[in-house]
Symmetry: C2
Amino acid sequence: MEINIAACQIEVKPGHPDQNFEKIRSRVSEAKKNGDDIVIFPEMAVPGYIIGDEWENSAFINDCMSYNKRIAELSEGLVIVWGSVDADKQKVGEDGRIRKFNTAFTAQNGKIISRVCKTLHPDYREFDDDRHFYSSRKLAQDRGMSVRDYIQPLTVDINGEERKIGVSLCEDMWSDDYSIHPIEILLDNGAEFIINISCSPWTWRKNDKRHRVVRQRLQAQKAPFVYVNNTGVQNNGKNIFLFDGGTTIYNRDGSLRDMCREYRDDVIRTTLFSSRTDVIKRPVLSHERDQEELLSGLIYGLRKFFELIRASKAVIGMSGGVDSSLSSYLVSKALGAENVYGVNMPSEFNSDITKSLARRMAETLRLNYAIVPIQDVYEYSVEQLEQTEFTRLDASGVKKMLELSSVDKENIQSRDRGSRILAGIASALDAVFINNGNKSEVATGYTTLYGDVNGAVAPIADLYKTQVYDLCTYINSVEKKQIFPDELFDIPASAELSAEQDIEKGEGDPFAYEYHDKLLRAFIEWRLDPEDILKGYTDGSLSDTLGMDRNFLSEYFASDSLFVEDLERIWRLYKINYFKRIQAPPIIAVSKRAFGFDLRESQLGVYYTQNYKEMKRKLLGGD
Amino acid sequence: MEINIAACQIEVKPGHPDQNFEKIRSRVSEAKKNGDDIVIFPEMAVPGYIIGDEWENSAFINDCMSYNKRIAELSEGLVIVWGSVDADKQKVGEDGRIRKFNTAFTAQNGKIISRVCKTLHPDYREFDDDRHFYSSRKLAQDRGMSVRDYIQPLTVDINGEERKIGVSLCEDMWSDDYSIHPIEILLDNGAEFIINISCSPWTWRKNDKRHRVVRQRLQAQKAPFVYVNNTGVQNNGKNIFLFDGGTTIYNRDGSLRDMCREYRDDVIRTTLFSSRTDVIKRPVLSHERDQEELLSGLIYGLRKFFELIRASKAVIGMSGGVDSSLSSYLVSKALGAENVYGVNMPSEFNSDITKSLARRMAETLRLNYAIVPIQDVYEYSVEQLEQTEFTRLDASGVKKMLELSSVDKENIQSRDRGSRILAGIASALDAVFINNGNKSEVATGYTTLYGDVNGAVAPIADLYKTQVYDLCTYINSVEKKQIFPDELFDIPASAELSAEQDIEKGEGDPFAYEYHDKLLRAFIEWRLDPEDILKGYTDGSLSDTLGMDRNFLSEYFASDSLFVEDLERIWRLYKINYFKRIQAPPIIAVSKRAFGFDLRESQLGVYYTQNYKEMKRKLLGGD
């Protein structure tokens, strides 16, 4: 017989079960009016999912459990499936605290009738399920049962008929790398259809990958599949994750039946086991679609993050370069131009070109704008520091004057902008200020701590410099007017902190971004080592591996030894400059690996493997 | 028959297998000369343990595995047991990468004869074993075996006799909160003695706890127990963990036979199964012993951290307060006074008392010292900001002048010190500068981002303010001369950033540290919620729970409503100010829960449970 399903995509506010409960209550009451048989909510829809060690707060857990009970009480006349935390107060978890579960609850006739706990616990990137929750895998082991016997579909009476539902949570469907396949087990054990409730962040082309995974799960045994995910943002301090939703109902063969609109509360309804077979098209993958998703994700993420921290106004340094131009565009889209305060902070080293580009960008976006020069305090600081004399307070009385190098002076300017001006203005306006760094800079530490590393949020710090240009090009192509002027693409990327970085003479950053961005991606996202890179260089496969023009390397590097020197320079910069990332602001995560708690680092210094050293010796000779 | 054991406590350099291998090689060669039968090294002695996601670098893993082979080659004539990473390249881990194991290797006659992989994977605090490694628990499940059957002692021929050794790794012995007890299983399955190799950071009274745990493990079946741990520091970016070693050989009944000296390379040798039964005394626990351990740990941690980042000089702001006084003492002990540059940075708000206390401390410690006033730039900045006018670049042309509040002006001074002066001096001296914050400040955000939040390392940020005073008192009691003058204990703690914070009028920080420190500890370390606190306040148990004088609360809070107001103020400060901790420097972890990646947080805003609100309503009336 037919079953009427309502798949509810809701924004979950992590750490605020009261608000989440209210949203669930109102959706349940709509579902009742609509005559739905089963109404489904995402994983951890009550507490939120990425809440750090708040899971250790027992009062909070109890509070969530009391909301679970209140949700169950709403289930007169229909079945509710939702994700929340569950606890077994008689048992301890492996951290010695109350044993907790990441659970899919099912309620009917006012009572909780089933608690399915997650089997596969992701423990990579930002995921930490084993830190907080006990899996059904461990429960099976404790009872001396096989997982296959332990995982069973849930039997529910729907309209007088016994139905078997395969309830699963998020990772349970992404089982390719596991020795256990919960979806297949549920189907083998008699599930008529699958519900998967998730709290799954957006990543590049993940929706498309999910469609493929669902088809694969249903390969041996066909069955309808209902995937329910939340929207909103959740953060672990160092990263802000975007939840686009992507709630989807799949037909028996894994084809798409219906899908929620992204980044908003939405409900899709369907009648399972009816004779109708609706099929919607899978979105076609393209560079444009990727850019569109990226852009809407970044703007949504910024808006939601400001909501979260209860800020409405943003201050942003505008240098006239491409990074601050893109950032200010994103922020003005997220908050409205009236809430954005652009500041240009020239010193003697800033060119007329960039100063005028900054102003033009602020005009294009109709921002609030001010020019606050740093030259006076810069000069005063150089003088004050150069006149500072330390005296050893012992019998020797040794004296030491400070000497400032060119780099020391560059950093003084950056810190003056970040810590004196921007932080001062933000504080006076009761606003926060934006970090404009891109991923290439963050990776190589081509930034100044307490200078341009500062800010409350870093919207583009998960985009390499070349991706920044790409996104600007895309925005120009979809906006009615040209947002980013041609000059912005023509001037060299430069910090403009010294006479050596004079863009009017074509001098810019010490990077060939078209190569270095790809090298950095190989290090950061593909987790490759200099050994892998040097091997590729030696055997001629590197250009293909990185996706480079085959002539680039031989043209750019005049000799093997220059290639190796550059490789070691970049590896060293990436490794050593982690100390700056430790003190960097939250980054909106959009790549396969964002700096922060997604990619976990340690201050280790620089290391080269024995193989690397051997290959280098062979290539360059000597020892 | 007798077995000669050498338990080698070595400093492990995380991420530098080459250096670790050399150390192991030299210890093995000593053991051979000494005629030892078995030489034992700590867990993860080759790669290090806390290395972030460097575990995902396959070239690094291969490099470690090649060192494993080279260690095995050293095992002619004796048995070597050591910890390292192992990989099964035919299988994937649950992150889709090469499957890796946290393994205890045993080698004999030039070959690896056994690989025991860790059974219990800690996943709390800084530990993340499931993120990177596959446990023997999962291996057992995959093979359809019980863990009890899977975990077996290793059989080795020693001096012509078959011996059964129970090899285990770290958490395998700390099984109280697990459903599996590997040590007991090994003994049940015939192990004659236990080896536990660990990479276990120092925490408060942990050695004593370990002695108790070993006794408990041996309760049902007696057997000698060899515990080998490393020294050094390892970090996860946000926290620096201290490894004191504590390598111990236990007799069959769990009494102590011998123990390495702390924080240094050391070897203890013993003959197992001999008629001799040496017993050494367990160190007696006391407040003095705790302070001594804390002090030596902090100094060791600072010294090793500076070694790690290859820095030898430190700049430190000296306000004349107790925090900067203690920090400068620790740093001068760690690096030598000649490498420490103290800087006093007065503005109009700094009292003569604190200025002279700063100088006296620098004299006592014989530091390099300079006074660098911030008054001029402070005044300039206030004026420059107050004269800044934003213009809306649209048809409206709306203008907005900045207005600075008293708090805005306080923060300008702090940022000027942290970002203009200290960062400028550190950069000119090729030094790093020290963060002087204590845990009470870090917890409540009573700090200025880009001001006193700055620095390369925070030595005392895991000590509450009252603990800072305690440690100073202890240092005074053990040093030949008085380091911290009486006035330091007498003046009120104050930021001295405004006329309202005038210590000469007795005005200081808005905290009653003797209560608020304990409240914060309850939140941070005991993971309690305002609900728990309010419950204790209501039923009269709070003073006992916190360990307070019973009269304090009633004397300090004139009414219930003032108590609740204060409770909510502190909870709110703690929760909201996480944004500052995101950008804070590495903290040396010494408590049960340090801010950083030990305690994982999320920007969530403030939440009160239903129970809390109900209790508050009952207590105060109203709704």
